[in-house]
Amino acid sequence: MFNFHYRLERNAMGLVAAIIVVASIGGLIEIAPLFTIDETVEDAPDMRVYTPLELAGRNIYVREGCYACHSQMIRTLRDEVERYGPYSLAVESKYDHPMLWGSKRTGPDIARLGGKYSNEWHVAHLYNPRDLVPESKMPAYRWLLRNALKIDDLGEHLAAMRAVGVPYTDEMIANATADAYGQANPDSGQASGVTERYGDATNLSLFDGKPGTLTEMDAIVAYLQILGKLTDAAKQAEQARVE
């Protein structure tokens, strides 16, 4: 073996080829099958896609680096399930490009945050977390309320998401901007199209409390309120275990 190596280390291209081959094996065996084995991701017929407003909110979540302190992955451990809810299933992040499972909980896991607090609570908490939770370490995100939300290019965002495999329809892409406006202005004419395209269960609300205008706060709250609610698969799986 060492004699072989004695010859190998005299040959630069041989060494290069050996490094590439030896280093590629692990990834090929561990990653490639995840795309082909059906059991990897559960079936969830009720799974819906993010609305344009929620997607915009998700992009703000990414932009501000929220994933550095909040995980979105409840592990299969008793204390986590009791603290945060049913453990996360692979299918729940099927449309997450990229996934935001996170690696650190400076703040709590928020995989099942949707519906837990009111919109008003979220707006006040994001504006200054220490107004509601004096011990909080979270930054105050006041600029979200000041910044107007950019919605004119949301159709392009949806189209890019479709290119990587999320089933947005032509109609969804064409109406992305109007749908974003409509979801945050339930009394406007654009509101009905949102439920038509994304389902009756979609949250339509004045997320930031202000009608007419769209702020980044609207988008981020809309996103936080959908966390864990794209499908019921995790709850059903837990129910099945209990019974």
Binding site: F2, R10, A12, L15, V16, I19, I20, V22, A23, I25, G26, G27, I29, E30, I31, L34, F35, T40, V62, R63, E64, G65, C66, Y67, A68, C69, M73, T76, L77, D79, E82, R83, S88, A90, E92, S93, K94, D96, H97, P98, M99, L100, W101, S103, K104, R105, T106, D109, E135, S136, K137, P139, A140, R142, D153, E156, H157, A160, A163, V164
Partner: protein, 552 residues
């Protein structure tokens, strides 16, 4: 520095800079209304700044022929300085983000100053800015000395060094403006990723071309590690960053993979960025500078071989230990755990090889803080690889994951191993590069050594304590079978450790500032020329024409 380039190389450099400037302006035009345009302007300004330096000496006479009989070290010198500058900035931001966790209102209502945007500036700044520049600088030095051949031309090393720093600038400024892919340690957006691929191909070409010119039959072990670093980082970078941009004028892109496949790809990347950037590359550094400084040959050739191939093969399986108990299939988690455990063997083979090399030179370790930095790095390398294997055990991971223990573990590696071996190597390298008999002050190196060690110990103990306490509090039940502590209770318990951590970081930061001062004084103060430098020459230099051709 520019005058050392041939006229042809200067011309090529000018052409490349004009092309980059045009690309920058084009980005600024198509990206109107998006932050993409800001990065276009930054690229154009960066190229312009390099152009100004180039133009000052564009008409200088051709360099003397003797110049081509010497090793080409100018990029190494600049790389050393850049590494230290990035190190000071990134570690200062590290202290800031650490303080934000103790006193969260230090954000001052400015988006760029919030934790989520500053943190990647700290991590990328340290890993890629400080570590990457040190790797590029030392690799050019080690490559030439161990092959006894000069770099193949004088333009491509500059392209690599300055191109790489452009990537770092795009990364750091992008995070501050909120441009990020959110993939940890691979945050820069698609265009920066593409640019890094170009830079990396040229970097690899320099390695292969120099090896082809070598005057030594064998390729030295340090170069195996540097080559694994270059090759595998390229594989990881390309696969993990596959994405579809929103449009050619948008900075934003959507990752090709989603959910569980994306998570596995990301941590296959993330863990092996640790393996091939922060381990393999720095082992290359260790295998050259430690024996050199100690004046002893590497203890065991066979241990080097076992260690090298063990690390290259097994690390690539270990990434899934970042995803224990998640929605990742169980069989992948198990594979990751098993390989992480076996990895201890090649890791300790390298750490042991380094320490056994010091046998017969321990009196030098006692007297010479530079060598002591390298010795300490090998010890911390042993500690952090043991800890890593331990934390990869599923049951241990259930406690440690998501807590500060992970952060502590990373810093045993980053502060104790990566930074210490870098400081030791740069301290050894600087007098050789600038032809000085010694550093400006050996006593300042001694001060730096103890600050770095104290800072690391304070930091790591704070994070070990806070991580384990928090992990235990999360899973504590009272006799009635309900959870005892709310999440908030566990956060409050972290507060004193966050202050201690910031203090440990401050000690470490003070150390690198002293290092910067010491090295700067070594370079700038007039000093007698080192007599030993006269023998530091390549073997049988070929005729000057052969490497005067920049476009070879």
């Amino acid at each position: 520095m520019i005058a050392q380039l041939t006229a042809l190389e200067r011309t090529y450099a000018a052409i490349i800079l004009v092309v980059i400037m045009c690309v920058g302006v084009a980005m600024a035009v198509v990206g109107r209304g998006d932050l993409f345009a800001v990065h276009g302007w930054i690229i154009a300004a960066y190229a312009m700044a390099v152009m100004v330096v180039l133009l000052r000496d564009i008409d200088a006479p051709e360099p003397w022929e003797e110049h081509f009989r010497e090793y080409y070290d100018d990029p190494t010198k600049v790389g050393i300085i850049l590494s230290l500058i990035w190190g000071v900035i990134a570690m200062a931001i590290g202290v800031w983000v650490a303080s934000l966790l103790a006193w969260p209102d230090l954000t001052f209502d400015a988006a760029w100053a919030s934790f989520g945007r500053l943190r990647p500036v700290h991590t990328s700044g340290v890993i890629f800015g400080f570590g990457g520049n040190a790797l590029i600088a030392t690799s050019f030095h080690v490559l030439q000395r161990t092959t006894r051949a000069r770099l193949p031309d004088q333009l491509s090393p500059w392209f690599v060094l300055l191109g790489y720093n452009l990537f770092c600038v795009l990364a750091a400024t992008g995070y501050l403006m909120g441009m990020t892919q959110s993939k940890e340690y691979a945050e820069p957006e698609w265009y920066a990723d593409l640019w890094l691929v170009v830079v990396w191909v040229v970097y690899f070409a320099i390695y292969i071309r120099t090896l082809a010119r070598r005057r030594e039959p064998h390729i030295y072990v340090a170069n195996w590690y540097y080559m694994a670093f270059i090759l595998v980082v390229a594989i990881l970078h390309i696969v993990n960053n596959l994405a579809v941009p929103v449009s050619i004028g948008h900075a934003k892109s959507y990752s090709l993979f989603s959910g569980v496949q994306d998570a596995m790809t990301q941590w296959w990347y993330g863990h092996n960025a640790v393996a091939f950037f922060l381990t393999s590359g720095f082992l290359g550094m260790m295998y050259y500078y430690l024996p050199k400084r100690a004046g002893r040959p590497i203890y065991s050739y066979r241990m080097s071989i076992i260690s090298f191939w063990g690390i290259t093969f097994m690390y690539m399986w270990a990434g899934s230990h970042h995803l224990h108990y998640t929605a990742l299939p169980h069989w992948v988690q198990t594979l990751g755990m098993v390989f992480s455990l076996v990895l201890l063997v090649p890791s300790w083979a390298s750490a042991g090889n380094a320490l056994l090399t010091l046998n017969g030179a321990w009196h030098k370790v006692r007297d010479d803080a530079v060598l002591r930095f390298m010795m300490l790095a090998a010890i911390f390398y042993g500690i952090t690889t043991f800890e890593g294997s331990f934390m990869a055990i599923r049951a241990v991971n259930s406690l440690s994951h998501y807590t500060d223990w992970t952060v502590g573990h990373v810093h045993v590696g980053a502060l104790g191993w990566v930074a210490m071996i870098t400081f030791g190597s740069l301290y050894a390298l600087v007098p050789w590069m600038w032809k000085r008999p010694a550093l400006y002050s050996a006593r300042l190196v001694e001060v730096h050594f103890w600050l770095a060690l104290a800072g690391t110990v304070v930091y790591v103990f704070a994070m070990w304590n806070s991580g384990i306490i928090q992990g235990l509090m999360w899973r504590t039940y009272d006799p009635n079978g309900t959870l005892t502590y709310s999440f908030l209770d566990t956060l409050v318990a972290m507060h004193p450790y966050y202050i201690a951590r910031a203090f440990g970081g401050l000690l470490f930061l003070t150390g690198i500032v002293i290092a910067f001062y010491n090295i700067w004084m070594t370079i700038t103060l007039p000093a007698p020329v080192d007599e030993g430098a006269a023998s530091d020459l390549p073997v049988e230099p070929p005729a000057p024409r052969a490497w005067a051709q920049a476009g070879e």
